[in-house]
């Protein structure tokens, strides 16, 4: 679950690195430097999401679950960008709170 939220955040930042989505979600374009930063942050968060998944007994099952959370999170971000792009910042805020709570509780 924690992994899901971190990967969700990761994908959000990835998506923001693409100019197509910046206008819809943020109402403005980002500079190339900001785009690169978004991409790195996104990749970092995706890698970070592996950690809560791996801390289980069977690494085989853990990797499958991690792959599944990556896909589910990406689909969720796509849905938000398609139908409620303005809601993306709210999604980020909610996800950050949830991620911190879950990580602290684990």
């Amino acid at each position: 679950m924690t992994a899901a939220v971190w990967s969700l955040l990761g994908w959000v930042f990835f998506s923001l690195s693409l100019s197509r989505h910046q206008l819809d979600a943020l109402g403005r374009a980002l500079t190339p430097r900001q785009e690169r930063l978004c991409r790195s942050v996104g990749a970092g968060l995706l890698a970070l999401s592996l950690w809560p998944a791996i801390r289980r007994a069977d690494i085989g099952v853990a990797l499958v679950e991690w792959m599944a959370t990556l896909s589910v999170a990406a689909l969720l971000v796509t849905a938000v960008l398609t139908w409620r792009p303005r809601g993306l910042p709210h999604l980020v805020a909610g996800a950050v709170v949830l991620a911190l709570v879950l990580t602290a509780a684990a």
């Binding site: 693409l18 099952v61 499958v64 599944a68 589910v72 689909l75 792009p85």
Partner: protein, 552 residues
């Protein structure tokens, strides 16, 4: 192949490959994906289709003794017994024994279901249940006992290879794979929405598709590629199969296929003690099955196998005991590198390790894969109609008409047939001897009827009719269920905690809603006067106006 004869680029060649490897076997692949996704929940569908088993009580410490006593009553002289203990998804005890066939043919297995609480034999209606989807998925099973098993596996193998080629060529062809990553624009005219849908369903779930396709292809490697095995292990490849199943060469051998019975009845066994030792050996795991084998000289071996869902790698480890004394003999597990690789691929595909959350996710990915194939098939038609519309070209040729008919029969007809199969389970009389085969025939006859109807009409009206009838049949499922087997109605199963069975009814309602939405969203040109807004309801992009205009 460029029309002007010039050499084409690599991407264009891959696009051609992607189109044709996807199109030629696309309808079969759609069926394989849909039935495979259903097979993830085959135990739940089995439970829904065998209502008589819902009375099974909880298992207890006495269950194993009850099972042994029942087997002693049913088959005291049998050379092999098998007891499968209940788990979360299969609540009954499965008893099985080997009967030598009359006339010295291959021995066959008899199975019975037993109530774990009382030891009473349960007598479910004769049906293939969810196992039909499972077996259709990899061998195109068309009846309960079919002669075309190997042929079916070959066809599925060919289709899987085509799927793999289509996946890889699709990745290569997709030029803006990263910038298009999250792009989905429903409601655009022409092929754009369909292409977006095809890309999004394709790319975001790509790890799943690659894994499932490759592991599926590898599962029957002994059938497709026997030459390498023969070269390394000799003509019969016997040593290979032993390594695959974890038998060490020269270890205690099983006698297979003996037709003579060992003398006398099964001696008294120390099964509870054996189970206790096995549980101590695997403190965090579950025991799935005990297999009791008797040899000609009277010795009895008991193999206790761990639950296959306890790890990814197939096959589960097992412990061998002496049946009469209960003494531990050896622990068995696959250890040849080849067998472990195969075991991981097999285990990944079967996903027996998946808990409820992951299982629903995998089912969802399977449905998205079906959507990917369906949008791809629609894309082929929509693009050609768009081109024809622009150039004022002649009406669609025979090939395009065939593709349109097959699209309708596969995308709307297959879900219809699945609903018909489930309805047949409730509507056919319980006492009919052939009812299992007739349920399967209901599936195929419905599907064939859809194909026939699609050959007559393929326009927007036909699509709306197809989706509408599908929505109707799926709505009927919980209704017919409640009417014919009240103990399994949605209300009863939800309030008694049988969530697996309730999920089938709930999914039927959800499926009906999806197909109703699809029927609603199919638009003819006269009605297509609005632009889809971000607040438009979720659903498939509307069939392009051009597609409907060019309809038959």
């Amino acid at each position: 192949m460029r029309p002007d004869g010039r050499a084409e680029g690599w991407r264009q060649a891959m696009a051609w490959l992607h189109t044709w490897s996807g199109l030629v076997l696309g309808w079969l692949l759609l069926a394989i994906f849909v039935t495979g996704s259903l097979a993830f929940f085959r135990h739940e569908i089995n439970a829904w289709m065998r209502p008589e088993l819902v009375q099974a009580g909880p298992s207890s410490a006495a269950t194993l003794a009850l099972a042994e006593r029942r087997l002693r009553e049913l088959a005291p002289d049998a050379p092999q017994w098998s007891i499968r203990l209940p788990d979360g998804r299969e609540p009954g005890v499965q008893l099985a024994w080997r009967e030598p066939a009359p006339g010295g043919g291959r021995p066959r297995f008899e199975t019975r279901a037993m109530d774990p609480a009382t030891g009473r034999l349960l007598d479910p209606r004769h049906t293939m249940g969810g196992d039909f989807f499972y077996r259709f998925h990899f061998e195109l099973r068309s009846a309960e006992k079919s002669r075309w098993i190997v042929e079916g596996r070959w066809v599925v193998g060919l289709a899987t290879l085509a799927m793999f080629v289509a996946l890889l060529s699709g990745i290569v062809t997709h030029r803006r794979i990263f910038s298009d990553f999250f792009t989905f624009r429903p409601g655009k005219a022409g092929a754009r929405s369909w292409l977006d849908a095809h890309n999004v369903t394709g790319v975001l779930v790509l790890p799943f598709y690659l894994l499932i396709t490759f592991s599926g292809l590898m599962m029957f490697h002994t059938l497709y590629l026997p030459a390498g095995i023969a070269a390394a292990y000799g003509a019969g490849g016997k040593g290979y199969f032993e390594e695959l199943s974890g038998q060490k060469p020269g270890s205690v051998q099983r006698q297979r296929g003996t037709t003579a019975r060992p003398p006398g009845p099964m001696p008294a066994l120390a099964l509870p003690a054996i189970l206790g030792q096995a549980r101590a050996h695997w403190p965090a795991g579950r025991v799935e099955r005990l297999t009791i084998e008797r040899e000609q000289d009277g010795k009895v071996w008991v193999d206790v196998a761990a639950h296959e869902g306890d790890r990814v790698q197939y096959r589960a480890p097992s412990l061998r005991f002496e049946g009469v004394s209960g003494q531990f003999v050896q622990a068995r597990d696959v250890d040849a590198p080849m067998a472990r690789t195969y075991g991981v691929l097999y285990g990944l595909h079967m996903a027996r390790f998946a808990g409820p959350g992951l299982r629903w996710a995998l089912f969802g990915f399977g449905m998205l894969g079906s959507a990917m194939i369906a949008t791809g098939l629609m894309l082929w038609v929509v693009k050609r109609r768009a081109e024809a519309g622009r150039r004022g070209a002649p009406p669609p040729g025979a090939g395009q008409r065939v593709v349109e008919a097959f699209n309708l029969a596969a995308i709307a007809g297959l879900p219809l047939a699945v609903a018909a199969y489930l309805l047949a389970n409730r509507l056919l009389p319980v006492a009919w001897p052939d009812r299992a085969d007739w349920e399967i025939r209901a599936f195929f006859l419905t599907w064939l009827a859809c194909l026939f109807a699609a050959s007559l009409r393929r326009d927007a009206w036909a699509w709306r009719l197809g989706f509408g009838v599908a929505a109707l049949l799926w709505t009927a499922i919980p209704v017919v269920n409640a009417a014919s087997t009240p103990s399994l109605s949605l209300w009863a199963t939800a309030s008694s905690g049988h969530w697996g069975i309730a999920a089938v009814d709930l999914s039927a309602i959800a499926a009906a809603a999806v197909f109703a939405a699809c029927a609603w969203r199919v638009r003819t040109p006269a009605r297509a006067s609005y632009q889809a807004s971000p607040a438009a309801p979720l659903g498939k992009p509307r069939v392009a106006a051009v597609a409907a205009r060019g309809g038959a």
